[in-house]
């Protein structure tokens, strides 16, 4: 198992490196010059050259990349062009805010989606399957920002039982875990964010469970006289690796934050930060955020990989 972990970790390193190359170069592939936003439109050629040199934009790209990578390795992502604050603070702050949402959305979405899918998969074609699969399709299909706005209209504007926006009593400043009343600010964004993962996980689980249910060994389990509960436990364990793969992706998406949902609820998370960085052409922030999110994806995939091979030993061999 430790061997396996080290091997998978070694696979992750080149992936992370590739990701960093893509992150770095994406910004140069995008149209527009990042310096335009901070330089006055009538700046002289000397000034432009000076600012370019100050930010290191005058060097050849490979050199810029290596220098950037060297700094990134020690946690220095540079300075935000828009706010002049260190990128690390911007990114970690935003990631923290998003992870507050994810902390609640992940368990809710994963357990609900998995249960719905498991029940539907055990009774394929029955009315309960139709109802659950139907709701899952609805969850995936409804645009979640629209759903968020509808929730705001019902619970904040009409019923006035929940706050419409912000992270707590101090507005969009800081979420405080120790202040119970701040929990009310979580309800609507967490529900809104959970919709899509619930739908996707429910459908994946249903498909996996229904497929395993049709396998020969399920007849053997019944022929052994096992109770239906015990049979379902076997089936779920067999279906789990497939579901975990999808859960890993959904976890990554939730950590990436939803630009639209975070905008609807003015929740200053990573999606919100990304959209701001794009609009301002804030290259260092963009690079830092994308890289961090990509690394979270890589780490999640590594974890999913290990969990899968722990559950299904056949995966270990490949």
């Amino acid at each position: 198992m430790i061997n396996l972990f080290l091997r998978r970790l070694m696979y992750a390193v080149p992936i992370a490196f590739g990701v960093s190359v893509v992150c770095f170069s994406l910004v140069y592939l995008a149209p527009g010059d990042p310096l335009q936003t901070i330089l006055p439109s009538d700046a002289s050629a000397d000034t432009i050259a000076m600012v370019k040199a100050a930010y290191g934009f005058d060097k050849p790209l490979p050199i810029q990349f290596l220098k950037w990578l060297g700094r990134v390795m020690v946690g220095d992502f540079g300075q935000s062009i828009a706010t002049r604050r260190p990128v690390v603070l911007e990114v970690t702050g935003a990631l923290y805010n998003t992870s507050v949402l994810a902390l609640f959305a992940v368990p809710i979405a994963f357990s609900t989606g998995f249960s719905m899918g498991a029940i539907a998969g055990c009774f394929p074609g029955k009315w309960i399957d139709r109802v659950l699969t139907g709701s899952a399709v609805l969850g995936v299909s409804l645009p979640n920002y629209w759903f968020g706005i509808v929730l705001v209209i019902f619970f904040a504007v009409e019923a006035m039982v929940l706050p419409a926006t912000g992270m707590g009593a101090n507005g969009s400043d800081q979420f405080n875990f120790l202040r119970w009343s701040d929990a009310r600010y979580l309800v609507l964004p967490v529900i809104t964010l959970s919709m899509v993962p619930i739908g996707i996980i429910a459908r994946t689980t249903r498909a996996a469970v229904a497929e395993v249910m049709n396998q020969d060994f399920v007849i053997t389990l019944r022929a052994k006289g096992l109770s239906e509960t015990a049979v379902i436990r076997h089936v779920l364990k067999n279906a789990l690796p497939q579901v975990l793969a999808v859960m890993g992706l959904q976890f990554g998406y939730l950590m990436g934050g939803s630009i639209l949902v975070e905008t609807v609820f003015t929740w200053p998370g990573s999606g919100f930060l990304l959209s701001k960085a794009i609009i301002n052409r804030d290259v260092p922030v963009l690079q830092g955020t994308i890289l961090m999110l990509a690394l979270i994806f890589v780490a999640t995939n590594l974890l999913v990989d290990l969990m899968q091979s722990w559950i299904d030993p056949r995966i270990r061999r490949t």
């Binding site: 060994f217 053997t220 022929a223 052994k224 006289g225 096992l226 239906e228 364990k237 299904d312 056949r314």
Partner: protein
């Protein structure tokens, strides 16, 4: 004679879908004595596996319609509730499947799967069940059994997997063993080893056994009696030696003619012409009549009634008593 272990009377299984109804098993009647091996012989689609699964009610409840009567050790299987059925399965009756590759759960170890069965039926601690599982693996002659206990099915060869499957089936001391082509998926050399093992265990433990196969050679190796199935009916039944020496039904004769038995190499094997009938539209008469060289007008009107030309022998063919004077 003691009361039979298995008594099946007029068993019918139909698979009903919206489009059609397949008559998989049509009026099957047979019995098995304690300790006896009955071989059900037939080609694919003859209803032999369906009959076997019906004995444990393993057919999908929403599609299969079962009628008739099945008694195992005096219990009416078709009338059992869920709890009774769960006690019967794996306890009184257990089953070995054709494909050891797919019939074992791939994400549980062999040991766990046996332990689980033992604890379901006999209770007891995990350690005791594990000790028993080890005994069973040794009983079925799995080498280095203690390590195999912690192996997953994919880590074992086909033959070992089938032995593990047999160990699991024997774990709770069943009185009736159902074997659904247990050697078909194995290599020829492994096949004979598993067959010999099964025959020995069956005799040692005194289990009544129903062994389903399409392989005449396997049947002659293991059976006390043979029942030949065609299109969901038993068309001939009798002691193994008698059937092999003197098949009565034209289909059984055709089966024997179509095996390799020392013909000269340049001769084609005598295959039975035609193919088995569509189970969704069975002919009104003898299902074999369209392929039978001796078929007459009588064969086409109604399925022939069973005839008993000798003690313990049965055949469903209109020509039987007339054509076999030595039994008359």
């Amino acid at each position: 004679m003691s009361s039979p272990l298995v008594e099946v009377q007029d068993l019918n299984v139909r698979f009903v879908t919206r489009e059609s109804t397949a008559h998989a098993v049509n009026g099957v009647t047979f019995s098995v004595q304690p300790g006896e091996v009955l071989c059900i012989l037939g080609e694919s689609g003859s209803g032999k596996s369906v009959t076997l699964r019906a004995l444990m009610r393993l057919l999908p409840a929403n599609k299969a319609r079962i009628s008739g009567s099945i008694k195992v050790d005096g219990q009416d299987v078709l009338a059992l509730d869920a709890a009774g059925l769960s006690r019967l399965r794996g306890g009184l009756v257990s089953m070995i499947f054709q494909e050891p590759m797919t019939a074992l759960d791939p994400v549980y170890t062999i040991g766990d799967q046996i332990v689980e069965t033992i604890r379901r039926h006999k209770g007891g601690t995990k350690a005791a069940a594990r000790a028993r599982a080890l005994e069973l693996l040794e009983l079925v002659k799995i080498p280095s059994a203690a390590q195999r206990l912690d192996n997953y099915p994919h880590e074992l060869s086909g033959g070992l997997r089938q032995r593990a499957m047999i160990a699991m089936a024997l774990s709770c001391g069943p009185r009736l063993l159902l074997a659904d082509e247990p050697t078909t998926a194995l290599d020829a050399t492994v096949q004979i080893q598993v067959l010999i093992l099964l025959r020995k265990l069956q005799a040692d433990l005194g289990m009544g056994t129903i062994f389903v196969t399409h392989d005449l050679g396997v049947a002659s190796e293991i059976a006390d009696r043979i029942a030949v199935m065609y299109a969901g009916r038993i068309i001939e039944e009798g002691p193994v030696a008698d059937i092999l020496a003197n098949p009565l039904h034209p289909y059984t004769r055709g089966l024997m003619a179509s095996t390799v038995h020392g013909q000269s190499r340049d001769r084609d094997i005598d295959a039975i012409p035609g193919s088995p009938p569509d189970l969704r539209q069975l002919p009104p008469g003898c299902a074999f009549a369209p392929r039978c060289a001796q078929a007459s007008g009588d064969c086409l009107t109604a399925p022939p009634e069973p005839r008993y030309p000798a003690p313990g022998r049965m055949a469903r063919c209109v020509q039987v008593s007339a054509k076999t004077p030595e039994f008359a």
